[in-house]
Amino acid sequence: MGIKGRDIITTHSLSKEDIEYILSSSEKMQKLLEDGKSHELLRGKILATLFFEPSTRTRLSFESAMNRLGGSVIGFSEASNTSVKKGETLADTIRTVDQYCDVIAMRHPIEGSAELAAQFAKAPIINGGDGAHAHPTQTLLDLYTIKKEMGKIEGLKIALTGDLKYSRTAHSLSYSLAMLGAELVFASPEQLKMTEDFTSDLKRDFGVNIEEKTQLEDVISDVDVLYVTRIQGERFPEPAEYEKVKGLFKVDLELLKKAKEDMMIMHPLPRVDEIHPSVDKTKHARYFEQAFYGIPTRMALIAGVLGVEV
C-alpha cells in the first residue's frame, strides 16, 4: 500500500485504494500542519518545480506544500529563461534536473509530456498539468475538499456545470467521483455537453447514476455539491448565443434561494463571472477553502511518492 516511488500522471492510473490512501494521508497532513508539526518530515529533500507555462496557483501550492514539509524547492516558472529556449528536448531537461532533486512537479503545455518526463527521470514525477490531457492534483484536492467539507463522497449528489465537453477538470473529477460512488449530474449548454462516449463509459464501468440538464435552475434544488467551471466565449460562434447561455449558468443569490441548506459550491479558479461575488459570503461558497486543501493534498503526494509515511 502507499504510493512510494510512483509517478502521479493521471487520476485514471490511480485505483480506488490509491485515492483513498491519498485522501487519508492528506487528512493526516492537515492535522500535522495545524499542529505545526509537519516541518521535519522532508528536511534535506528537494522538490524541483518545472513550470514550462505560467500557473500561479498550482506552482505556489506545490512550493508551499514542500516548504511546509521542511524541504527545499528549486525550479522555474516559465520556459523563457531555460535551455528549452535554446532548443533542448524535454527529455534532456528532465534527465539533467533529475540529478538535482528528489521529486519533480511539472507543468507543460504539451499533452503527454508528464508521461515522457516519468520515463526519463528516476525521481518521481507529479503532473501539475500537461496541456489538455491531465491535472491529477486538481482532482485529488477537489475530492479531498468534498470529503472534508461533506464528511463523505459516496452517495452524494454532485453536479458539474459549465463547459463539460472540453474541461479536463470535469472529465477527471467525474471519473473519480463515479469510481468513489457519488451520483452525478451534468449541467451544461447543449454545445458543451459531456460526450456521450464518456458518459456511457462511466455508467458501464461504475454503474453510476447520471442525470443530464441544460440549465442550473433544474439542478440547484437537490444537489449536495455544485462544481462550477468556466464557459469560454470562444466556444460559441455567436457572441449573443454566448451571452444567453452564460446567463443560464451563472450562480447568484437568487439561484441559491432554491439550494439545499448545506449545499456547497466549488470552483477550480480562476473564475470570471460565473459566480457572482455576493455569493462569496454565503455558507455555500467553499472555493477558497478548496484552494487551501490543495496544500495538504500536495503535501501528502510529495511525501507519499518519497516514501515518507505519516
Binding site: 485514471h12 528536448t89 499533452e111 503527454g112 515522457l116 520515463q119 496541456g131 489538455a132
Partner: protein, 155 residues
Amino acid sequence: MSPDKELKIEKISKGTVIDHLPAGTSPMVLRILGIDKKWENAVSVAMNVPSHGGDKKDIVKVEDRILEKEETDKLSMIANNATINIIENYAVKEKHHVSPPEFLEGVLECKNPKCVTNGKEPVLTCFAVENTEPLTLRCKYCGRIMDKELIEEQL
C-alpha cells in the same frame, strides 16, 4: 477443403503463410509487409476463399520471408486471430495465432497533433490496446483514443 480448392495457391518451399485473414484484408497485409511492384520473390494471394467455418477468408503466402515483430504487431490490428505459418521444406515448421500485444510500440503515429510523441522528443509512440473488437488503442502519453478507422489509415 477439397484438394482442388487448395491448388488455387501453390505451396511454397520456404517462407511464411498468413492464413485466416479476414476477407478483403490481403491488400492491406501486402502494404504492411512492404510488398509492392519492386518485390522480387514469389507472393501468392487468395481473396475471398471459403474457410472451414463457412465464411470467406484471405490467404497470403510470401516466399523467403519471416515476419518481424513490428509486422506481426501491425497485422494484429487488422487480423486478430489470423495464423502465421513458418514454412521450411514445404512443411509447417512453426505456427502461431496473431493477437494484439498489450502495448503497440513504435508502429503507429498518434493522431493528436499536440501529443508529445509528435515533436522532437526521443521516444517511440506507444499505445495500450483497450479493446480488440472493435480495435481501440489509447496513446500511453496523451491518452488519445484511436479507433479502427484512424488505425487503418496508417497501415
